[in-house]
Symmetry: C2
């Protein structure tokens, strides 16, 4: 076991104001509390949820200023006195940032031992850094679908990393997935990774097709990453009693709309999906079981495409690249990378 | 017992096309099936739900052409062979129209015996005709509130007949009711009948006040009769986990809107409330118990204001009067009235 010991100081991205990009700052390396571990971060992705958080769209308990970043991979280099925390010393892990306080866009992060999953040797740290949010979200969606005895579901922005995991998770669970994308190249991409039902929302007959598919497979649940009229159209296409779970607002509009007759007379409902809410409602056993399933999906070669690995200093341009083309893959922040001047 | 026997023919309002007012037509008097009773209609109100139905906004199983009208009072003048149906012969009753087929805007209607509640002598047939939809909706709302362990709720269009019953039903159930109206005269009216918390949505500080009240009383459920941005504002004002139940679209807009952050990050939900849906989910015992409670509320002197009683022939102008000022009271169709030419 070769543990590189932390120095006293570290680089981190520091968010002082919502809507203004975080900037690099030199800070003290944090010390782990009793149940905590200190992780030397190897990679931490930019997810759509980060974009929302940076804009101030979260009702998160995090107070500013703060280090952003919700998940990462790295090595545990120090721990608190708790037995479970100590067992993780030296391990390569995937980790969630703590619910409150500083996140993973830094050279080091402390988090509770229960937010940490050891990686198997065949998962590289790049993939490990994206183990939790996207694969677990996909598995949580399948879980919601099962609990509602629903055999089919719809997902929008289906070419995203989350969408691609959902294709695997639904196939494993024998759930019919209707994938909605908005460009032909995304149709081709999803076909190439085995998606069966793909609709292109930019096509003229999209709404009629969506309705036909929902009826044919009795899809009573739709997950919507877009918001605005996308929510309206999904709810309208679902059969009576259908439910749209909104999990993103990629349309950049701040509201969703829904047909009032769908809601009053057809018993349809609109609610949200947020991984943090789902996790808060599960037992620790269920969460660990889900994390293990997520690791299995990644080990099976369902890797997330990476478009770029960048040092903390290149955050601003990396974020722009990501927002301009999410389908091209994730952008990973790698705190140990040095800047090429 | 003095039963006036039906003739073979009757007058009825006949709806042939949604969006076009029904017209008087001479038809055969229907015959009751085994479980049914034939009721000579004394009075039948125009409710907001009728306005929706006539516009074609229901996802109702009723096929056109049809006699509209969902509730009435009258006398049972013939019955099928079923014992429970036979017991009602000669009785003055309040009744629901059957789920499928012809309704109550006619001289006679047949309906299942389970849709019929005998009136107590001190309830006049005018009031009895409005016994079911509004009082039962108010009681159903209180029931939903209780099942959600909610001690306070918000209602919009609170000066409506339903709104006024809700004031009584909430007082009886010890639930704090926040009444939202949009004119000062409605504020005065609700004060005069004992409402405690009344907000005027046309006032500048309405949204801030609404938020303060919702927080103060922890009102997690709002019933919304307006739709459109009213739903948005209510959902936004409710605490985390709050739920808006939309039951009307008085704004005349066909959609509701909601803030995407409320939905994703604050676990807030939008769903519908429709008495038919609620009834379909209850046991027959619960429905009868609720109907008895409704009768009690009316017997206790909480009468619905009536602005006009009209013959079937005057439907069109009566509907206009009602839609122009619902707060002035209900318009009752009385099939035995003759036209003043």
């Amino acid at each position: 076991m070769n543990i590189q010991l932390p120095t006293n100081k570290m680089k981190a991205l520091w968010l002082t104001q919502f809507g203004v990009p975080p900037e690099v700052r030199i800070m003290d390396v944090p010390k782990p509390g009793k149940r905590e571990v200190l992780i030397r971060i190897e990679a931490s992705p930019i997810n759509p949820s980060d974009a929302s958080f940076l804009q101030g769209h979260y009702s998160s308990p995090k107070q500013l200023p703060v280090i952003p970043g919700f998940e990462a991979s790295g090595q545990v280099v120090a721990t608190g006195s708790n037995f479970m925390a100590k067992r993780l010393l030296g391990k390569e892990v995937a980790c969630f940032a703590p619910t409150k306080g500083n996140g993973s866009w830094a050279e080091y992060m402390v988090t509770d031992f229960s937010f940490v999953v050891p990686l198997k040797q065949k998962i590289q740290s790049d993939q490990g850094s994206m183990l939790l949010i996207n694969p677990m979200s996909a598995l949580a969606m399948v879980d919601i679908c099962r609990k509602n005895k629903c055999k089919a579901l719809v997902n929008t922005a289906a070419a995203s990393a989350l969408g691609r995991f959902l294709i695997k998770a639904c196939a494993d669970a024998n759930i019919t997935l209707i994938n909605v994308v908005h460009r032909q190249e995304q149709v081709d991409l999803l076909k190439s990774i085995g998606a069966k039902h793909i609709l292109n929302s930019s096509k003229e007959n999209y709404l009629a097709e969506l309705r036909t598919y929902c009826e044919l497979y009795n899809a009573r649940i739709a997950f919507d990453a877009i918001g605005s009229t996308s929510t309206y159209n999904l709810l309208n296409a679902l059969p009576d009693g259908g439910e749209v779970h909104v999990y993103g607002a990629l349309s950049a509009e701040k509201s969703i709309s829904a047909n009032v007759q769908d809601i009053i007379f057809k018993r349809k409902r609109v609610r949200g999906f947020w991984l943090s809410t789902w996790i808060a409602e599960q037992s620790i056993f269920k969460i660990l079981e889900t994390a293990k399933k997520a690791r299995k999906i990644i080990s099976a070669g369902n890797e997330i495409t990476i478009q770029k690995k960048i040092p903390l200093e290149a955050f601003k341009s990396g974020m722009e690249d990501y927002l301009n083309n999410m389908t091209a893959g994730k952008v990973l922040l790698c705190p140990s990378m040095t800047i090429k001047e």
